[in-house]
């Protein structure tokens, strides 16, 4: 699954450059995403790890053009296959959304319309985006869309897809609903899938099934993927590269084995220490003291300062992201001392 080695000449399928998104609140401006840059190479799976307030979901909602006032993208570029998504008209963005970039949400029960059958929801997406089908005559296109719907449901492992098309979301279990959401996302064969916490609401055995499914689909369709999660274990097993976000910024990124095996940023280290491991019950679990800072009118300093154990006065300045030779990045001036 490691595609980094020969990929030097490849252009990223998604390139986020210095993205900043903010929200105007009565108390001040909340900079939810600050100067975030990351690339996703074709066929790669990039994990975005962060907790509440890290900005991970807002970042990708910005990519998809789903930010509405009082939120706005303050700066940066979002290049998808070379096209700057920010410069597109809403109509053009709508064509890209769903067809070339698809997104799945965390809670499948609320993300699926409970009043529509899954057939209706699948057809909605297929008919909206698939030009080949849309071009057919009225009688044909519904039939073709239906065939595609059945095909994609079978792809995600829904048994007796044909009969179950007429069912409503609540008639499926949690794992099935998540698969349906993946099916809807994949219906138009997107180049990039953004999965926002795809397995957080699921039981661990169902999670294992769904992750296995996603991995096999990626291989089969050659799809690139962004996997947003707070679960380091999921990232360790599924992703080629990891980007760790904290309080709106990228604090570390690199190959999964490096970031998980030898983390450099104090937050990443703290996160790994705070995670109980099933494979090593004797390892002590040490919490990170403190809480995420309030990002409204936050001063330009290291965001992790209040909870860091290796801080110094030099950290009270804005800390830049340092890029290492092997492509990994860290936002910290104290890595040597760790």
């Amino acid at each position: 699954m490691n595609t980094m080695s020969i990929a030097k000449k490849q252009t990223p399928i998604l390139s986020i450059r210095s993205l900043s998104t903010q929200f105007s609140t009565p108390a001040g401006v909340l900079k939810a995403v600050q100067d975030v840059s990351l690339d996703v190479m074709p066929g790669e799976c990039v994990g975005i790890v962060g907790e509440s307030g890290s900005g991970k979901s807002v970042c990708f909602a910005s990519v998809m053009g789903l930010i509405k006032p009082p939120g706005e993208i303050a700066a940066g570029e979002v290049l998808f296959d070379g096209i700057d998504l920010r410069k597109l008209s809403p109509e053009a963005m709508r064509r890209i959304r769903g067809k070339h970039i698809a997104m799945t949400m965390q809670d499948a029960l609320t993300a699926l319309n409970p009043a529509m059958t899954i057939q209706q929801q699948l057809l909605e997406v297929i008919l909206a985006h698939d030009e080949d089908i849309a071009r057919q005559s009225y009688w044909d296109h519904k039939r073709l869309a239906q065939a595609r719907a059945i095909e994609v449901l079978a792809l995600v492992g829904i048994p007796s897809a044909q009969t179950r098309l007429k069912d409503y979301p609540h008639q499926f279990s949690g794992g099935m609903r998540q698969r349906i959401m993946i099916a809807i996302a994949l219906a138009c064969k997107p180049h990039l899938l953004i999965a926002d916490e795809p397995t957080t609401a699921l039981d661990v055995t169902i999670q294992a099934q769904v992750l296995k499914l996603i991995a096999s689909l990626r291989r089969k369709l050659g799809m690139s993927m962004v996997l947003i999660t707070h679960d380091l274990g999921v990232v360790a097993e599924q992703c080629d590269r990891v980007v760790v976000m904290y309080a709106g910024q990228v604090v570390e990124s690199g190959l999964t084995a490096q970031v998980i095996g030898a983390p450099k940023h104090p937050y990443t280290r703290g996160l790994l220490r705070a995670t109980p491991r099933v494979e090593d019950l004797s390892a002590p679990v040490r919490p990170i003291p403190g809480t995420v800072p309030n990002l409204i009118n936050f001063p330009a300093q290291c965001h992790f300062y209040s909870r860091c154990t290796v801080r110094s006065d030099a950290c009270l300045e804005a800390i830049a992201l340092t890029r290492n030779a092997d492509g990994s990045e860290v936002r910290c001036i104290h890595i040597e001392e760790n």
Binding site: T25, A27, P287, N294
Partner: protein, 303 residues
């Protein structure tokens, strides 16, 4: 112990003082200009009702046949002492309207107060205890709801006879089911929320839970609905008085004023019109204010 530092470091943004959810809601309400304006109007009517004897230019029952159907001040034959004209018996219309506000507001408030208390208690019992208590109360509610409001009230008045107390009773008989149904629904929903289960887990009795855990959380919905219903009750009282089975003469109710003016609608239009305008203004203001209350208190709009 690291635990001690952890909780204290950061609070959510609006946590400057101990601001209870109620105070936040009232603050939101005060920021809505329409609602505040409407509330001021309602307050003015209330003051008018309380200070009627001092505000009214004339005695509302002072009949002078010489002034029969006298026009308002801006028309021919009008005078400032009788600004809105006089009715068929020469009584000052403005004074009768001012005194009429007492009837409407008093009846409205009394009916709503009694109906709300009865409705809240029955709704809480019905929604929390469920079982046969709920069945009995719900059937009573269903039966009462099945009767058309006005016919039912007229029937009751016919049985009990006219009089202020009877009007209030008759209106309460039907009105209490509204808060009861609302409270029952809200209670049934809240019953399943974890903090109610938590109260049971620490050993609280059902009575305590209904009174101290559930009631404070549904009170805002009850207040909103009750203020809205008050407008309705005022119109109903006016309808009853219009039909002649409300307050009896010589007491003036806005409804009876409209009835009095009915025969003269083409010539002395002011009698019915200004009485109607009074009802309109009060009811409209109550509706706007209660809408504002609902917006300010509705947690879904703001959380």
């Amino acid at each position: 112990m690291t635990s001690i530092q952890t909780a204290s470091t950061t609070l959510s943004p609006n946590a400057s003082t101990a601001e209870s959810p109620q105070r936040l809601s009232w603050r939101r309400f005060s920021q809505d200009r329409f609602s505040m304006a409407a509330s001021v109007v309602v307050l003015l009517f209330l003051l008018m009702a309380i200070f009627a004897p001092w505000i009214a230019p004339q005695d509302p029952n002072d009949s002078d046949l010489l002034r029969r159907l006298q026009a308002p001040v801006w028309m021919d034959g009008g005078e400032w002492a009788y600004p809105l004209g006089c009715d068929a018996l020469g009584r000052d219309l403005l004074s009768r309207i001012i005194f009429g506000s007492r009837i409407s507001i008093f009846i409205g408030a009394a009916v709503i107060f009694i109906a709300t208390v009865v409705g809240v208690v029955t709704g809480l019992l019905s929604g929390y205890m469920r079982g046969w208590v709920d069945t009995v109360i719900s059937r009573v509610v269903d039966i009462l709801l099945a009767f058309p409001y006005l016919l039912f009230t007229i029937g009751l008045m016919a049985m009990m006879g006219p009089g202020l107390q009877n009007i209030i009773l008759a209106l309460v008989y039907k009105e209490w089911v509204i808060p009861c149904r609302l409270v029952r629904g809200e209670t049934m929903a809240l019953r399943e929320v974890e903090y109610i289960e938590a109260a049971r887990a620490v050993g609280a009795s059902s009575l305590y839970i209904m009174a101290r855990e559930i009631l404070p959380n549904i009170l805002s919905a009850v207040i909103v609905v009750s203020t809205l219903r008050m407008a309705h009750v005022i119109i109903l009282e006016a309808s009853l008085s219009f039909l002649g089975i409300g307050v009896q003469p010589p007491t003036a109710s806005w409804g009876s004023l409209i009835a009095d003016g009915r025969s003269y609608i083409w010539d002395a239009w002011w009698i019915s019109t200004f009485s109607g305008v009074a009802i309109l203004l009060l009811v409209l203001s109550i509706n706007v204010a209660s809408q504002g209350l609902r917006d300010a208190f509705d947690p879904r709009l703001h959380e």
